[in-house]
């Protein structure tokens, strides 16, 4: 509920309480009013019922009284005599007299045949006495309510029975206001007789009256009813007064409830808000004081709980912080802690020294003697280091068997001395679980900030130095400035080489090889070139080595094969009948699928397959002779020419060479560059050519820089020549021109002065 969120705790509490009180009070009030109303009605009805009983009783008693009177009248001897005299006026006057005595409005005396014997008053013409008399004969008397001329009348018939006199006296008595007043007074209602109205209802309720209708005759044109009414004005006024009182009471209660709710909300709300602020402060990581809460009960418990939470939170934070910054095995600060300390050191600008120690073969210790034992070794090492180090220096375990130490600045010699001291301490025999145990370790040192400007450099250069140390197998190795830059350059080359392979920023140059006998342009050596967008020209030696390291060499080789095949296809199409030689890396030979790659790349090769030469370095053949030999055999099956590159620099045994399926030797250019001036080189080259010829191999000489070398080699029977003297490497597009140039020089090259061997 958005509203609930807006009005807050206090508002909600007040709203709820007031609403509750309002609902309860209004319900009670409403019920009370309803009951009052119902009660009033019930009482009115009860009173009207009572009124009806009273009316019945009054009417009955009146009838009874009149009967008694009439009974006396009809037994009056004078009256009887007057009637029996047979003299009508006498009879009439006697009847009138008696009627006055009993208060009758009219009276008539009938004989047995309903002939009037006497009359008094003005009896109505339509008395319809037959039924009345029949009833009177049946029960000795009869009484009936009737209406004559809009007036209610009670007719009473009583027999006049004197010896010898048989007659009926019928007297009419008014039912008027006098009587209804009596009924009203007795019953506490307003009573009146009503004629001429028919109504089936016994009870009517209007806004002003409760009415009860007592039927005195049957419904008909001249019906007579007694209306009993209770005026509602008084009770309604009473009711409205009550209503006003109840509304006042409810309003008062509501105001009170609101005030109480406000007070409660204040007393409850403020502490709650304070506690909320307290909890928020705790959440923000501050350590606030608990708010003063006077109230007891749940709020106090909550405050207590929050306080406890704060304490436990801090404890746990401490634990986490400790765990985050310490090594759990040795209890020393861990890498993160050391690095943050290093950062502080850098930001303070103070120079310091960094010593790194790696335990050699810790993994072997763990593997052979168990992790438990390894951990004990680590703890022992850390204890020894801590003993050896001055107080001011930091010590941390930053990896498996790696410890780093930071000491105040000292000279290079002092640093080395300290490093050696530490190394000796660590390497001195160690008792672990009563087992004497010796360790070997590697130490490196850095001077900060001279050797590294920030933590990233520190990490990189430490690792580099450790690598160097493992290679050099020195006890203590200092970081050599520049190492890291080379390393970074290598990393960049490695990472960018992949992109270069895909976006074709590698390209090929081709250096011609000439048949030395006739100086004809026979073949080119494909040389890969890379102009790096940032580093500029990167030598193939460098990036091919790195590609071998990073496992990209296969990709590179495949790429080169395809490039060369494409270029060659183009120059063959242009009519140049030139073969191609391609350098393979040592790692290429370990790949069984290399022959497939070659076959695939040169699937559209138009010249004989022997015009494709694959050049393999000696060392490559020597690394894994078995696999290399297998690969070479399969390549040979393709029909390509195989050549041993850089011959004379490796450690190839001639017996190996004898087994290899190669057809060509390529004498390393280091022997050829100064051939004209170096007699030793001449000896080596010459004897190599002889040996190769003896083994049935052709010889290629590369690095021919001048005409003298060219001539010497030509005279010694070297089959192919390559070098700047002949041609620099050129782009594929320039081969046509180069071929032209070389054919122009053909005569010069073949008519050189013959030198005697």
């Amino acid at each position: 509920m958005a509203v609930a969120h807006r009005i807050g705790f206090r508002g909600r509490l007040v709203t709820v309480m007031v609403a509750l009180v309002a609902v309860v009070s209004l319900s009670i009030g409403g019920l009370l009013m309803l009951y009052l109303f119902e009660d009033e009605k019930a009482r009115a009805m009860e009173q009207l019922r009572l009124g009806e009983r009273v009316a019945d009783e009054v009417l009955d008693r009146r009838t009874s009284l009149i009967l008694s009177r009439l009974d006396v009248v009809v037994r009056d001897f004078g009256f009887r005599s007057a009637v029996a005299s047979g003299d009508r006026p006498t009879a009439d006057s006697a009847l009138a007299n008696q009627a006055r005595r009993v208060g009758a409005r009219f009276a008539v005396l009938l004989d047995n045949d309903s002939i009037a014997l006497a009359e008094s008053g003005t009896p109505p013409d339509r008395l319809q006495s037959g039924q009345l008399l029949a009833e009177a004969r049946q029960s000795g008397y009869a009484s009936r309510m009737a209406v004559f001329g809009d007036k209610g009348v009670e007719l009473i018939a009583i027999p006049v029975e004197a010896p010898g006199l048989r007659a009926w006296l019928i007297a009419g008595f008014s039912l008027g206001a006098e009587l209804s007043d009596v009924i009203g007074r007795l019953s506490g209602t307003e009573a009146q007789f009503r004629t001429g109205a028919n109504s089936e209802a016994r009870f009517l309720e209007s806004t002003q009256y409760f009415t009860r209708i007592v039927k005195l005759t049957e419904n008909g044109p001249s019906a007579l009813q007694l209306l009993l009414q209770i005026n509602r004005e008084a009770s309604l006024a009473n009711y409205y007064r009550r209503a006003v009182e109840i509304i006042l009471l409810v309003s008062t209660v509501l105001v009170l409830a609101a005030l109480i709710a406000l007070m409660i909300a204040r007393n409850m709300g403020r502490p709650v808000l304070q506690l909320a602020d307290y909890a928020k402060a705790i959440g923000d990581g501050r350590t606030p004081l608990p708010p003063p809460i006077r109230a007891g009960g749940e709020l106090a418990q909550l405050r207590q709980a929050l306080g406890d939470m704060l304490t436990k939170l801090r404890d746990r934070e401490d634990q986490i912080r400790h765990a985050a910054s310490h090594d759990e095995i040795t209890g020393l600060p861990n890498r993160n802690a050391f690095l943050s300390q290093l950062r502080e050191q850098f930001s303070s600008g103070k120079p310091c020294c960094l010593l790194g120690l790696r335990i050699n073969d810790l993994s072997d210790v763990n593997d052979t003697l168990g992790l438990e034992f390894g951990d004990k070794v680590l703890r022992a090492v850390s204890a020894r280091l801590a003993d050896q180090l001055p107080d001011m220096s930091a010590l941390a375990r930053t990896g498996g068997g790696e410890f780093l130490m930071m000491t105040p600045q000292q000279s290079e010699e002092e640093l080395e001395a300290q490093a050696n001291g530490l190394r000796l301490a660590v390497e001195s025999p160690l008792m672990v679980e009563t087992t004497p145990f010796s360790l070997r370790c590697t130490m490196v040192t850095l001077q900060l900030p001279a050797d590294a400007m920030n933590t990233d450099q520190v990490r990189r250069r430490l690792n580099l130095t450790f690598e160097q140390a493992q290679k050099s197998r020195q006890a203590v190795t200092h970081y050599q400035p520049g190492d890291d830059e080379n390393h970074l350059r290598e990393l960049q080359i490695i990472s960018d080489l992949n992109a270069a392979l895909t976006d074709n920023s590698l390209y090929m140059n081709y250096q011609p090889k000439l048949e030395m006998v006739c100086a004809s342009f026979h073949q080119v050596e494909a040389l890969v070139r890379w102009i790096h967008p940032e580093l500029g020209f990167v030598s193939p030696e460098e990036f091919i080595l790195l590609a071998e390291k990073s496992g990209q060499i296969n990709e590179l080789t495949r790429h080169i094969l395809h490039r060369v095949a494409e270029d060659a296809g183009e120059w063959h199409a242009a009519g140049l009948n030139i073969g191609v030689a391609i350098n393979l890396s040592a790692l290429d030979l370990t790949r069984p699928d290399l022959p497939d790659d070659v076959a695939e790349a040169f699937s559209r090769w138009q010249l004989p397959m022997s015009r494709i030469t694959l050049e393999v370095t000696e060392s490559a053949l020597m690394d894994d002779p078995e696999t290399a030999l297998e690969t070479l055999r399969r390549l040979r099956q393709l029909g390509v020419t195989l050549s041993v590159d850089d011959f004379g620099t490796g450690y190839s045994s001639l017996s190996q060479l004898r087994k290899l399926p190669v057809q060509e030797l390529k004498i390393d250019k280091s022997f050829v560059l100064h051939l004209d001036a170096e007699p030793q080189d001449q000896l080596i080259v010459r004897s190599t050519i002889d040996m190769a010829h003896g083994l049935g191999l052709r010889v290629v000489a590369e690095g021919i820089e001048n005409v003298e070398s060219w001539n010497l080699l030509r005279n010694w029977g070297c089959e192919l020549g390559q070098g700047f003297f002949l041609s620099r490497p050129v782009a594929a597009s320039d081969l046509q021109a180069t071929e032209q140039l070389l054919s122009n020089r053909q005569r010069d090259l073949t008519h050189t002065g013959e030198t005697l061997s």
Binding site: D60, T63, S64, D71, A84, G140, A162, P163, G164, R166
Partner: protein
């Protein structure tokens, strides 16, 4: 209540009816409201013998007229001696004889002479429940009905071609006991003549008004 009717029968001196033999039949009288036989009803045949005036008395004793009913011939004299220790005011408003014996004790000055036929109802102005009847008739009653409401009658055969004969019946509890009920019997006469009159129920013996008022209080 059974009140014997005392009749004074005067020996018939006149000759019997000449002509045809009279026919015998049995009258059976029932109360038309209850179907019960009417006992002690006076039956007077038109053809009955003439009776002679006589002197009779109705005494008041224990606030009762004794006899309760009296059948007499016209011109008979009736005396009303008072044998009670209270005075009585005996009177009648019956058209056959209106008389008024003001309060007296012992014997009135003179007897009352009844010179018109009819039913004379007598009462006491002081004691409302005292009631008596005097039947003044020219003919001797044929008799009174027995316990079964029966009376054997002898009706005269018609001599002058008259095919019917009349008879009158009276009982003190007839609803209109101020007159005799008149019937005619057509010839040929049946063996059984079944007639009925309407009787009012026997009074409870209490004062009538007490009954009324009691009934009111029960409302």
């Amino acid at each position: 209540m059974y009140r014997p009717i005392i009749t004074l029968l005067i020996a018939l001196t006149g000759p019997l009816c000449h002509g045809a033999e009279p026919t015998g039949l049995t009258l059976e009288l029932t109360d038309s409201t209850t179907g019960q036989p009417v006992v002690d009803a006076v039956i007077i045949l038109d053809s009955g013998s003439e009776n002679q005036p006589a002197e009779a008395e109705i005494i008041q004793k224990n606030r009762e007229f004794q006899p309760h009913s009296l059948v007499i011939a016209r011109h008979s004299k009736v005396d009303f001696p008072n044998r009670d220790n209270t005075q009585h005011h005996v009177y009648s408003f019956s058209p056959a004889k209106v008389f008024d014996l003001e309060l007296y004790a012992g014997r009135p000055e003179k007897p009352i002479t009844f010179d018109q036929t009819g039913v004379v109802e007598i009462g006491c102005n002081i004691h409302d429940n005292m009631q008596g009847f005097i039947l003044v008739t020219d003919v001797n009653p044929a008799g009174y009905t027995d316990d079964q409401g029966r009376l054997d009658l002898r009706l005269p055969a018609s001599a002058n071609g008259n095919a019917e004969s009349g008879l009158r019946i009276w009982h003190p509890r007839m609803t209109d006991n101020t007159r005799m009920a008149r019937f005619t019997v057509n010839q040929p006469y049946p063996e059984f003549l079944e007639l009925s009159v309407e009787l009012s129920p026997e009074p409870a013996g209490d004062d009538r008004l007490d009954g009324l008022q009691k009934r009111f209080r029960e409302l």
